[in-house]
Amino acid sequence: MASGLRRFVGSLSRRNLSTACANKQLIQQHDGGVGSGKSLNLYSAINQALHIALETDPRAYVFGEDVGFGGVFRCTTGLADRFGKSRVFNTPLCEQGIVGFAIGLAAMGNRAIAEIQFADYIFPAFDQIVNEAAKFRYRSGNQFNCGGLTVRAPYGAVGHGGHYHSQSPEAFFCHVPGLKVVIPRSPRQAKGLLLSCIRDPNPVVFFEPKWLYRLSVEEVPEDDYMLPLSEAEVIREGSDITLVGWGAQLSIMEQACLDAEKEGISCELIDLKTLIPWDKETVEASVRKTGRLLISHEAPVTGGFGAEISASILERCFLRLEAPVARVCGLDTPFPLVFEPFYMPTKNKASCLESFKVPAQHCCMNLTAHGS
């Protein structure tokens, strides 16, 4: 097993997105043959999860703009051929309709897996998600629900996406009780988490880091496995500072941890995975140990989900904290076109030494370390 593990670690993502510490946990979570997986990139892992979801539940459906042809990111390749056009189909360009119909489908006991082509396009469907999907169970006194609903959407920067193909809108949805918001960091995580989301009896918004669709590659077990929701994961153990993030940002933070390690700073890195309801206990336990917390996300810093984590941990660990909580996030500007490198919470912003020694607000935006 140990050698299998090492092999696994060695073959992890090309972006150094390590699931190193995760392996132990993952093996516990997943009894199937961990070493038996094939090397897959993230979109292929999503594709595999969708195949399994449709295979294992005849009442599961996949639809969205251009998904019949495989979708713009190839996540739905082959599904229509395999499962037929009545279960995998294109919709008109109509996000409100896609989600509305998905809610209706789910309300009749089906698993509706709806794709919004880019997270930036989700806003016409915002009302349906926030007012219809999230509150269906509550306001009907549990007579009705749309628990079979999963909305998939690629989110985040991609290097050159510009204003409307780069946004990270997760915080909007984290303000909505009744929804779950899940973001995977790697192919193996994506497959297991997506299957959990599809089978979870609550409506879930599943954001996929589009930057990692092709870039992130790791061994993914071929069988049907699920990873638990609302369980954060310590993917790197350390003693001096806790870093919390999700999705594509974790690979950036991983690099920051490595840089810091060279300076003798021991970082603990946590993948939150589920943003609501989130695993406060894991983060709290870690901060109690390290006394410092840094949160990083691509979305603008103000009102981002980092603010919520910061407030909650402050409430729980106030006396244990040795420095103010630091946030290394996107800037409070629209997502820029040519200035994407300035906007992004890069590893240099995060690994700026002062921010580890004294994670204070002024260190969060160390543009000098970057951008030249």
């Binding site: 409100q96 193909h165 500007t333 969060c364 935006m365």
Partner: protein, 396 residues
């Protein structure tokens, strides 16, 4: 009157001189000839809840030549944008208009720059039609200072305020209610202007179109909704996405007109007609039957959901530039060589503009923080506080 007499006599004289010498032909004042010409549209208009306008369109040699030159410029510009994108000089998303040029050109010929236009993200040529320059286009594409949005918008966000071009919008269908809002303001200003709100056949299935249409009709707003039907909403054919692909009829209580969008003169006639109608009676839908040669965006090869034969068939039979070329030759308004020369000139203009745009500087890094809010309202200072220190370190 005197002018037209003069020009017609000059065209007569060129005709007489024609057999004499080829070099002389180059100098005939063809492009300024304003003798009225009447030309029949390629196919009749199909109308819904209104009387279709006449198929006979008034034009002039000058106009036809300018159509040719402008469309050739647009075509060349889009091909060049394609190369720049592939060379990674254009970042962001990029949607090309080649094939649809007649819509932009014909529309401008039927209206004035006081009227407003708003469109989605396939906006390069609409911007050029409104009087934008090639330098502004290429600079904006490459995110440079001389771009029409100062390099902050990119391909999908072209604007030109002085001629009422409200852009350049990224979200499918979101510009339609906005366009009706412009028409709402025009109704108050009583200056006899209208708004043309453009959208694609894909966007025609968005709910907000119908919400906006209802209000526009309810309040008789001078809004013309122009559905540029290129028959594919991204990778989905219209018939797969629309129960009724007769987009001109989908306003139900709103009159509509189906137009051959590959025929610049038909587009001109329809837009003129729609403007008059809208000023008197409220909104109207124009469905422009057109075609895009490129894929939806640069990541779409454009050949997985349609056949290459289909694309080459349209190129051969319906191309908007070839149609005008044939008209010019049939009416003997210029020689083939003259038209080729125009295309050569256009190619050079495009190349020059690209070279110049490449020299245009990137915006100042501080521009990242400007225009988020109005200056002087205190908010920008709060924004800047995050980075003031580091920017100061870097740039001072």
């Amino acid at each position: 009157m005197a002018l037209s007499k003069l020009s017609s006599s000059s065209s007569l004289s060129t005709n007489i001189l024609k057999p004499l010498t080829n070099s002389f032909l180059l100098h005939r004042p063809i492009s300024t000839d304003t003798t009225p010409l009447t030309i029949e549209t390629s196919v009749p208009f199909t109308s819904h809840q209104c009387e279709a306008p006449s198929r006979s369109v008034e034009t002039t040699p000058k106009e036809l030549l300018s159509f040719f030159r402008q469309m050739a410029t647009m075509r060349r510009m889009e091909i060049a944008a394609d190369s720049l994108y592939k060379a990674k000089l254009v970042r962001g998303f990029c949607h090309l208009y080649d094939g649809q040029e007649a819509v932009a050109i014909g529309m401008e010929a039927g209206i004035t720059k006081k009227d407003s236009i708003i469109t989605a993200y396939r906006d390069h040529c609409t911007f050029l039609g409104r009087g934008g320059t090639l330098l502004e286009v290429f600079s904006e594409l490459m995110g440079r200072k001389d771009g029409c949005s100062h390099g902050k918008g990119g391909s999908m966000h072209f604007y030109k305020k002085d001629s009422g071009f409200y852009g350049g919008h990224g979200i499918v269908g979101a510009q339609i209610p906005l366009g009706c809002g412009l028409a709402f303001a025009q109704k108050y200003s009583k200056d006899e202007t209208v708004t043309f709100a453009l959208y694609g056949d894909g966007a025609a299935n968005q709910g907000q179109l119908f919400e906006a249409l209802n209000i526009a009709a309810l309040w008789d707003l001078p809004a013309i909704l122009v559905c540029e039907n290129n028959h594919y909403g991204m990778g989905t054919a219209e018939w797969r996405a629309a129960k009724s692909p007769s987009y001109y009829k989908r306003g139900d209580y709103v009159p509509g007109l189906k137009v051959d969008g590959m025929d610049a003169l038909a587009v001109k006639q329809a837009c003129k007609f729609a403007k008059e109608h809208a000023l008197k009676n409220g909104p109207m839908i124009l469905e422009m039957d057109t075609y895009r040669y490129h894929g939806h965006s640069m990541s779409d090869p454009g050949s997985t959901y349609r056949t290459r034969d289909e694309i080459s068939g349209v190129r051969q039979e319906r191309d908007p530039i070839e149609r005008i070329r044939k008209l010019i030759l049939a009416h003997d308004l210029a020689t083939e060589k003259e038209l080729k020369d125009i295309e050569k000139e256009v190619r050079k203009e495009v190349d020059d503009a690209i070279a110049k745009a490449k020299e245009s500087p990137m915006p100042e890094p501080s521009e990242l923080f400007t225009n988020v809010y109005v200056k002087g309202y205190g908010v920008e200072i709060v924004l800047m506080s995050h980075v003031r220190e580091s920017l100061a370190l870097k740039y001072c």
